[in-house]
């Protein structure tokens, strides 16, 4: 199952995939902090299914798969942002969009005459098969989101904690929420290419959820979350290239293992706080 004899050569081949995964791990970990604070895990899943539909549609008509995935993501993200300002509305809209997106994607794949290996890649991850130009696009998108996220960090934190007070202070809540959904949509579109539509949460939610278990510091949580995302994504690829299994299970397993360890450490930490209090 594992064969690391040609590891060096393999590594050179997938170098760009590793860079893409590294950037995504960092961005996913960072945006995940807000996904948790804004209670949007379900939205991430909903967006990823429409992103999958977009990518499958692009595959069918022979367009750029990353572009298709971005279009699907953005449509879902903006719809959810506009129609689902309140959590309750949001969940029902996502619940309606998600099966529609998944169904549409399956339809496109069924109509697609090409190799079936590519097909399932969109659902379960395929980074090694992403070509050079598309990898560049993925990295660019991820870097743009990273920069944008840092630029809106403070107002977005304020808005996530207390939208009414933030609005009273002049934070443009509506635009900020919509902007956040766009950033989330872009991140999901990149993730779909790397880890697959069904497993996006492993990079966009699990690292942040793990970090929040062990810290409440506004500096440590994002840093830890980025580190966890990075280790999961890059570690997953490094392990996978020596074996015959796809990348995704490695990424999801590492990310889950980190979460478990953080839960155990976190439980001990809260017990100590309670004892000293």
């Amino acid at each position: 199952m594992f064969d690391y004899s040609n590891y060096g050569e393999l590594l050179a081949l997938v170098q760009n995939s590793i860079i893409a995964a590294a950037v995504l791990g960092v961005v996913g970990g960072l945006i995940g902090v807000f996904v948790m604070q804004r209670d949007m895990a379900f939205a991430v899943h909903g967006i990823s299914e429409l992103s999958f539909a977009g990518a499958a549609g692009a595959l069918l008509i022979g367009a750029n798969v990353v572009a298709g995935s971005v279009v699907g993501s953005l449509i879902a993200a903006v719809l959810i942002g506009l129609l689902g300002a309140r959590a309750r509305d949001r969940n029902s809209i996502i619940g309606v969009l998600m099966p529609f997106g998944l169904g549409l994607g399956i339809l496109f794949l069924a109509l697609y005459p090409g190799r079936s290996g590519n097909k399932f890649g969109l659902l379960t991850g395929q980074i090694v098969s992403v070509d050079f130009a598309q990898l560049g696009l993925l990295i660019t998108i991820a870097v743009i989101v990273l920069v944008a996220l840092l630029a809106v960090w403070r107002p977005l934190t304020f808005d996530s904690l207390d939208p009414e007070v933030a609005a009273a202070r002049g934070v443009p809540s509506r635009w900020l929420s919509l902007g956040f959904m766009v950033m989330l949509g872009l991140t999901v579109a990149v993730s779909v290419q790397i880890i697959g539509a069904l497993l996006v949460l492993a990079l966009l939610v699990t690292p942040a959820a793990a970090a929040l278990r062990v810290s409440s510091s506004p500096v440590a949580v994002p840093l830890l979350s980025m580190a966890f995302g990075f280790v999961s994504a890059v570690g997953g690829i490094l392990l996978a290239i020596g074996g015959s299994l796809p990348i995704s299970p490695y990424i999801t397993t590492i990310s889950f293992a980190i979460y478990l360890v953080c839960r155990i450490v976190g439980a001990r930490r809260t017990r100590e706080i309670r004892m000293t209090a």
């Binding site: 604070q37 840092l150 403070r154 934190t157 904690l161 009273a168 002049g170 934070v171 929040l212 506004p218």
Partner: protein
């Protein structure tokens, strides 16, 4: 010049009038309590002052100029809303948001801003728990931090929307004394929306009482009278004074002042 002024202001939703022909001015250092049953337009009044809700008629101005959204001269203290236990913010971060939370750009807090936050934390008696996660703090402690956050921009007007709701008596007193001290020491005007006037009865200069599309204003002694409120509600209402507390009884739909 008055800090806040409404002139012939009116607001309603659909064909229901919340209030109309409202003339109201609040002077620097004045403590105005806004009372009235649920749905009488107390919160909408605050929203017009924040520039988030347009008046149907008339004008509202801050220090003589029309209201604009997100004005830094207004400090806003919301209803106590407990932060989720996992929120990655400490007490001091909540106050820091009041100092620079509206600013875009790299999230770096300068040394001067940090000193300002330390000062605010000391002012509201929150230094002791400043470095604890806000999710682990009590409602009263969180509310002290929110007062500090609202004072961050050195406001000329403090808007308080039921800030004492669901606090115990001791914290009600603590938080309302912070607000009272601020207006005495800095001449900050206070508009304080509440359904229970008792925790702030000793501080209130004037009351605006909203009910059924009507309103009246005056000192607590003028407004909190059985005949005055009976007139306003159009039905017999009893104002009972007992032990320094005021209870309004017989109001249609269950509520108390």
């Amino acid at each position: 010049m008055s800090t806040l002024a409404f002139e012939h202001a009116a607001l309603g939703f659909g064909n229901r009038t919340l209030w109309s022909n409202l003339d109201l001015s609040v002077q620097p250092g004045e403590f105005l309590a806004v009372l009235g049953p649920n749905g009488s337009g107390k919160t909408s009044l605050l929203k017009t002052i924040l520039g988030q809700q347009r008046l149907d008629a008339g004008r509202v101005s801050l220090e003589g100029h029309p209201i604009r959204r997100g004005d830094r001269r207004i400090g806003y203290i919301p209803q106590q809303k407990l932060a989720a236990p996992g929120t990655p913010l400490r007490g001091r971060d909540l106050v820091t948001l009041g100092v620079n939370g509206h600013r875009f750009g790299l999230p770096i807090t300068s040394r001067a801003e940090r000193q300002r936050v330390d000062g605010l934390l000391a002012d509201v008696g929150a230094t002791r728990f400043a470095d604890q996660p806000i999710g682990s703090l009590s409602g009263g402690e969180q509310q002290r931090l929110r007062v500090g956050q609202a004072l961050a921009a050195d406001p000329v007007l403090l808007l308080c929307d039921e800030p004492l709701l669901s606090l115990d008596l001791q914290h009600q007193r603590g938080v309302s004394e912070l607000i009272d001290r601020r207006r005495r020491e800095h001449d900050t005007a206070v508009v304080f929306v509440t359904h229970d006037v008792n925790p702030v009865l000793g501080m209130v200069d004037r009351i605006l009482y909203l009910a059924d599309g009507q309103f009246l204003q005056g000192t607590p002694d003028e407004v909190l009278q059985s005949d005055v409120l009976s007139d306003l509600y159009g039905t017999p209402v009893d104002v009972i004074r007992h032990d320094g507390r005021v209870i309004v009884a017989g109001v249609p739909e269950h509520h108390h002042v």
